[in-house]
């Protein structure tokens, strides 16, 4: 393997970086706006059509910009329902440096020693309600249903994996 020669052009590097960064530093207030990593999500768990109470729902996510993982839980109530508030965060650098936003989201249902993948989705933006624009996340999770890929938006080629169905509003 040939050793590579390095030709330094520090002025070019500086100019390109400055072209992005200089005027951005002027406006600190803009970076206060929160980033939505996981929009509010709720649902109902059933087995053979009957609501399941006391099922544990584990929500977890990985936010790639900061390599930050998060996890929280909820239990279904007597009507089989669960609810999670949105997960938001903030980052000065995320607003400053161009990158592809990525939050990998997972919801797992645990009941009687069994584990069911309810929801697996990759969010490529920081918008509130940005998973499927125009749709709130209401799930119907029938434990007897197989895990499958659900194509939600054919034009945008967006979908999720899991046993749950995403309800229409």
């Amino acid at each position: 393997m040939n050793p590579s020669k390095m030709i330094q052009r520090p002025s070019l590097a500086l100019l390109s970086v400055l072209a992005f960064l200089l005027p951005l530093m002027a406006s600190a207030m803009t970076f206060a706006k929160p980033l939505t990593l996981f929009s509010a999500i709720d649902g109902r768990v059933t087995r053979a059509g009957q609501p399941v109470a006391g099922a544990r729902i584990e929500r977890s996510y990985l936010w790639h910009w900061k390599d930050r993982r998060g996890k929280d839980e909820a239990l279904t109530d007597s009507r089989g329902r669960f609810h999670f508030d949105p997960v938001t965060d903030s980052s000065f650098t995320a607003r400053l440096v161009p990158h592809e936003p990525l939050v990998q989201q997972t919801l797992v249902i645990r009941l009687d020693g069994q584990e069911y993948l309810a929801w697996k989705y990759s969010k490529h933006n920081y918008a509130d309600g940005g998973e499927f624009p125009g749709r709130a996340l209401h799930l119907e999770c029938e434990l007897d249903d197989p895990e499958s890929y659900h194509l939600v938006d054919e034009r945008a080629k967006l979908g999720y994996q899991g046993i749950c169905r995403l309800l229409h509003d």
């Binding site: 590579s4 590097a13 592809e100 890929y149 967006l158 979908g159």
Partner: protein, 385 residues
């Protein structure tokens, strides 16, 4: 070479980001049936990014074709997803790239961390029958895919390159030799007219293809906007499209813009340039180019003496345009219109004639040179929805 469909390419360029921290590829390409039908299960490629503290993460996938894609392979690389990747992007000194031409240092370092895996893949006994490779990437991944295409070309493989919002990778020798080797018709460069990443690093870095068609999509958002760089917007804008039609549409749009610029310069149309949305600065840049060209034809003879007087490029252009404006009422009128157009985009309405002074010219030129930065600032200060 039979290209991959727009949907397979754009969806893979988006979904490949998933492999950064895991080898779970269950969502990769799941929204496009053609992917699973024509390619075998992919393998994950790892690479390093960053500067002093380099981290190794999943950078892409590689797969072999089946059925009518037998004998083909596909490599998809991800772009910037973490701060370490951002540092890689900023490291744009020069290294010698795969085929011997100078290329972006940061991209090349990451490429070299992938290269051993490519050698293993193409050297593997079961893969000796591969004759054609498709290289795909978004953003930094587009830069890496370009280097992989260079590498594949060097190995004598028929190569197709598909990039989205890719930055520039090398200088002119790199871009012209890669274009010649793999063929301009096999290079599908897709970008929004207002995608700031596709405009860097600055000259003398140059894009691939060096000649031939590109797929420039009119920017829908105002001016330069990071939303125009988001991969999902490329997926949606290309959805269900076909390469030939997209190339044709892009060509038509560029020709139409050129004609509109000529028409606009010669008219007294005072309507806002805001109707061009993300392409307004593009429009003004084209208009200025028209005027510079015209001015050079008429008054360029005295330019050599300026060099000995120590004029910078900016000084020279100001001198040229001011002289042209003084000696030609037509050119003076055009420059006035460009200035008024620029002012209207920054929210300042101008009534009456605009004075084309040296200061005004300097303002136009500096604004257009720095407009990238200014508009990035403006884009980020809007509500990011």
């Amino acid at each position: 070479m039979n290209p991959l469909s727009t949907d397979v390419v754009s969806v893979l360029a988006r979904d490949v980001y998933d492999v950064r921290r895991s080898d779970d590829m269950s969502l990769l390409g799941a929204s496009v049936g053609e992917w699973r039908e024509s390619f075998n299960s992919p393998s994950r490629l790892t690479g390093s990014s960053g500067a002093l503290l380099r981290s190794t993460t999943g950078f892409g996938v590689i797969a072999t074709g089946k059925g009518y894609r037998q004998g083909e392979a596909l490599v998809t690389l991800r772009g910037t997803a973490s701060l370490a990747d951002g540092v890689t992007d900023a490291h744009c000194g020069l290294h010698i790239g795969p085929s011997g031409s100078p290329v972006h240092a940061g991209f090349n370092q990451t490429f070299r961390s992938l290269k051993g895996q490519l050698d293993d893949f193409f050297g593997h006994a079961g893969n000796r029958g591969i004759r054609r490779v498709h290289c795909i990437g978004h953003s930094l991944g587009g830069g890496l895919a370009t280097l992989v295409a260079d590498y594949c070309g060097e190995r004598g493989l028929a190569t197709a390159l598909y990039t989205f919002g890719s930055p520039r990778v090398g200088l002119f020798p790199f871009s012209s030799s890669l274009t010649r080797r793999i063929g301009q018709e096999n290079i599908y460069r897709v970008y929004h007219s207002n995608d700031p990443v596709s405009m860097v690093p600055l000259f003398p870095f140059q894009h691939v293809p060096a000649t031939g068609q590109v797929i420039i999509l009119p920017g829908n958002h105002t001016a330069y906007d990071f939303a125009s760089h988001a991969m999902q917007n490329y997926v949606t804008d290309l959805s269900g499209g076909h390469w030939r039609a997209l190339r044709g549409a892009a060509s038509n749009w560029l020709e139409r813009m050129d004609r509109e610029v000529s028409r606009w310069l010669a008219s007294s149309d005072r309507s806002s340039l805001g109707r061009y949305a993300g392409s307004a600065f593009w429009f003004l840049s084209l208009a200025l180019l028209h005027v510079i060209k015209l001015s050079l034809e008429l008054f360029g003879a005295g330019l050599q003496t300026l060099v000995t007087m120590g004029f910078t490029l900016l000084d020279t252009l100001v001198w040229l345009l001011q002289r042209a404006a003084r000696l030609s009422a037509e050119i003076g009128g055009y420059l006035g219109r460009i200035l008024a157009g620029l002012l209207s985009l920054t929210g300042r309405v101008v009534s009456g004639a605009v004075q084309v002074t040296a200061a005004a010219l300097r303002f136009i030129l500096q604004f257009l040179f720095t407009s990238l930065a200014t508009q990035v600032h403006r884009a980020l200060s809007r509500v990011h929805s």
